[in-house]
Structures are given as structure tokens and as C-alpha cells.
Amino acid sequence: MVKEVTTNSEGLATGISYINKVDRKEYALKAKTVVLAASACSSARILLNSKSSQHPNGLGNGSDMIGRYLHDSTGSSRTFFIPDLMNRKTYNEDGVGGMHIYSPWWLDNKKLDFPRGYHIEVWGGLNMPSYGFGFGASDLNKYIGGTVGGYGDKLREDVKKFYGSVMGVSGRGECIARKDNYCEIDPTTVDEWGIPVLRFNYTWSDHERKQARHMHNTFEEIMYNVGGVALGEKPGAEKDYGLLNPGRIIHEVGTTRMGNDPRTSVVNQYQQMHEVKNVFVVDGGPFVSQADKNPTWTILALSWRTSEHIINQVKQQNI
């Protein structure tokens, strides 16, 4: 468990100190170059915990940007009952768990009342039963004039009648990264390794709320056109249009943002820290924006690029 990056009198990294989880003792590792890949928030945490006289605000944090511009994808969902899919024949499939529909910025996004865009994921089908299967199994009868409730053979028939007839649609979109959405070191709390933990300050803005409103209107438009019946209430303004709490879509990025200007960014185009040239960050932290998509492939691509850069720099004896 890495605690901090250690530095010398010139403020350059000399390695890391870490806790061995087995013997619970602290050790030091020496290194010429340190590459952090602890995931966006954890790398920010390590950097913020690495304070020294050269880096009193955390390693490479003269700009006070580390932890800021934290953003996660937006997420809001709805489920629909599709009467046409009742009494399905079963065959070689086990359902769909979040298929992305290609929906690039909703055609011309100038007509939207929010910036950027989102995509829709659909799920449903003849999934393998898991815990929760059969809960409320006969409730859908209320939409087709059947009897809700019961037991015995009637109930067994209901299960089969409705199996695979519910579809979900989820919107996943871009949250606009903002300086005032940030994580920072919690001054009062440590984890079991004695390392100070993060605390989070994050709110949605009208950009995300309007996007989620648009999602729900679109869900209904699509699903009514396929003959679906919406389940549950459509979430309104009082519920931020069903936006899940920040962090729930688990695409947190942005905490060590990339840029050319050391005053407004933490790393350069090679994910190298502006203020500490032998430290690199290769997780989602350097993302300035994450579009509407899941981040992993971009994390991989950028870290690949950084790896090649490090090799070149080492060969040229720059680091």
C-alpha cells in the first residue's frame, strides 16, 4: 500500500514509501522514475499525501489543481414492460447487459439545451436467474388486465409469461468537468494503514440535469414506439431527473488533469508532472474530459503512449 512519493532536496522523486500489508511495516523503494497508476482518486491521494518542504501543498501541486475537475459519467435509467415480448420461446441467449447504442451527440447538439451528449445502453432478455429473479413476478398483470398476486400453478405460469418481457434503458453521458468538483485529503480520518483518506465535494450542475431530462424524454419516445409500457415514475426536477449520485457510474477521472499550462493543469501531454519531471500518472486522472464513454481503453492508450515516451526519455538520458 503506497503511502507517498519520496523526494530529494531538489524536489525530484526518489522513490516511494509503502506499507507491507502482511507485516504491517513501512518500507521504502528507491526509483529513478515513479509512475502512478492507482486510479484517478487514489493517485491524487498519494500525491496530496506526499508533502515536503519543496512541495508543501502535495507533490507537484503548486497549481492547486490536484483533486480538482473530478468527474464521473452521468447515469439515469428507466425500465419498460414490452407486452409483445410476453410468453417468449426460450433459445440460445442469456440476455443483454448494457449494449451501447451508437448515438453521437444526438445528431446536431446545437439544438440541445445542454453541452456535449450521452449514449443509451439497453438491457434485458432471457437472462440467467439470479437473486431477485421472480420478485413481484405477477405484478405486470396489472398492465394486461390479469390478476396480480396468487400462488400455485397460476404463479408458475406468470413467471414464464413475463420472463424476458422487461427491458431497461440507461443513459450514460458526459459530465462537464468543473474546478469546484474535487477530492481532497480529509484532515481527520486515516485508513487502517494510518494513511489519510480522501473526502469528496461534488455537485451536479444544470448541464447534467438538463441532459438527464433529455435522456428520460428520449427513453419514453423510443420505448413507446416499440409498444413499451413505462414502469415506475418518470423522475422529475425534484429528483434531478433520476441522476445517480456522482461516483455511481464508476468512471471517475480528471483529478490530475493534462494541459500545456502548469498553472491550470498537473501533467503535460505525456502525463508527466509539470512540477516533478520524473513522476508520471497513467490512470484516468489526466483526463480533461471523458466524453460519454467508459474510460478504460483511453487509459490504456494514453499509458501506452506514456510508456514509449519514458523509454525514449531514458534513452536520451533526460530522466
Partner: protein
């Protein structure tokens, strides 16, 4: 559902099938008691999960009377048919015992609900629910099995029956017997030919032959991928 929750429920769901209660269930036999530890029985558990599963399996929550009442209810909810076994045959009472320990929020509503049901049957028929006749069972259940907004409906009974029905269905349909009853086919590796013709017909849709030709090449589906020395795919 949150992806983490669904992962968890997948684990719990696959665990539902054949749990064995040690010692206290009336139907428990000697060989059941020596069932292999969960580590050998189920695939894919981490060490921490195995330790927790085994700990829960060693604990008892329900009394024998409660388990017998649960078994009676389970078989009223899903009796055997010509082609499928009953909920008790699928091991659902053992599943409910496990879930009550795994998710302790279930404990009070289940225990209280069983007492409520016994007191109803005592009032009406002067006997415990599990000892009632089929007609008496029907009379008691018909009052609580259909959620009606009606002043006369005993709401605690409706709540309890909904819970036990949900758990019975989930326990049954995550067991081998239930999966077979549902005719779940799953995803069979290397045999995807698209949605069957007769299903497409039922919904008045068909594949576009051009796209089908591009997307599905059944002649190569059993080939193993090969790469050249430079890492280029050559198959």
C-alpha cells in the same frame, strides 16, 4: 441495479441451488450433514467468501417449527407439476434459511410473519398453519395472496406473503430444477446461429441477408485464433 450489486446477487443467486442445512432442518439426513464444504461445492469463491459462507452455514436462525411452516408455504406457492418438482424438492427452505442469515433484514419480517399466520389459523381453525387442511390453507392464503386495497385485507399478512413468495420464487428459479422449468438455454459457446427463424417470424421481423453474411460465418466458428511472430492475427 448497480453493477456491484448485480455481481453480488449473481454470487448469491448461484449459491441458492443446493445449500445444505446442518442439523436443524427436519429433512436433514446424516449424509447431508457431511456435505462438502462450500469451497468444494461451488465455483469461484474467494477465501473470504468461503469463510463467510461456511460461517453462515454453521449458524441456525429458524426453529424447526418455523422451517416446517416455511416448507408448507413453499409447497403451496410452488407445488410440483407433471414436469417439475416442488419448491421443497428444489431446496427452497434451506435457501430461505441461508438468506435470512446472509441478509439479516429478512429475519424479523419472516419470523413475525410466521407467528402472525399461526395466530390467524389458530383464531379461525384452532390449529397451527402447518397442520391445516388444503381447504383451510386456501382460505387463509386467499386473504393475503392478492394485494388489494381494501379495509378488510390484513396488511401484515399481505406483506409477509409477498416476501415469502418472492424468496420462494427466487430460490426455486435459481436452482437447477427451476432453471430447467424455465427452459433457460443460456449462451451456448460456438453455436450462435442468430435468433431462431420461428421466433423472428412470431415478431414479424427477419434478418437482412447482406448483414447476416457479414456478421455470421458458421464455417469458421470452431477455428482457434492464430498469430504470426509479429503478433498479427492470421486466422
Amino acid at each position: 441495479m448497480d453493477r456491484r450489486d448485480s455481481m453480488k446477487s449473481l454470487l448469491v443467486g448461484s449459491l441458492a441451488g443446493g445449500l445444505v442445512l446442518k442439523g436443524c432442518a427436519p429433512a436433514t439426513t446424516e449424509s447431508d450433514q457431511q456435505a462438502p464444504p462450500i469451497a468444494e461445492k461451488y465455483y469461484g469463491r474467494t477465501t473470504d467468501e468461503i469463510v463467510r459462507d461456511n460461517k453462515l452455514l454453521e449458524e441456525h436462525f429458524f426453529t424447526i417449527h418455523e422451517l416446517e411452516t416455511i416448507a408448507t408455504l413453499c409447497d403451496l406457492i410452488l407445488p410440483a407439476t407433471n414436469s417439475a418438482g416442488s419448491a421443497v424438492e428444489a431446496g427452497v427452505p434451506e435457501f430461505i434459511e441461508f438468506m435470512a442469515k446472509d441478509m439479516p433484514d429478512h429475519q424479523l419480517p419472516l419470523r413475525g410473519g410466521i407467528m402472525w399466520l399461526d395466530s390467524q389459523s389458530n383464531k379461525k381453525f384452532k390449529r397451527l398453519f402447518k397442520l391445516c387442511s388444503p381447504e383451510q390453507h386456501k382460505e387463509l392464503l386467499d386473504e393475503i395472496a392478492y394485494p388489494k386495497i381494501d379495509a378488510k385485507t390484513p396488511q401484515p399478512g399481505v406483506q409477509f406473503f409477498t416476501l415469502i413468495r418472492d424468496l420462494t420464487l427466487t430460490g426455486y428459479y435459481t436452482s437447477k430444477m427451476g432453471i430447467e422449468d424455465l427452459a433457460f438455454k443460456g449462451n451456448q459457446p460456438n453455436v450462435w446461429d442468430g435468433v431462431p427463424e420461428n421466433v423472428l417470424k412470431d415478431h414479424n421481423v427477419s434478418y437482412d441477408p447482406d448483414w447476416l453474411a457479414k456478421c455470421l460465418d458458421t464455417s469458421k466458428r470452431n477455428d482457434t485464433a492464430k498469430w504470426d511472430d509479429d503478433g498479427n492475427l492470421i486466422t
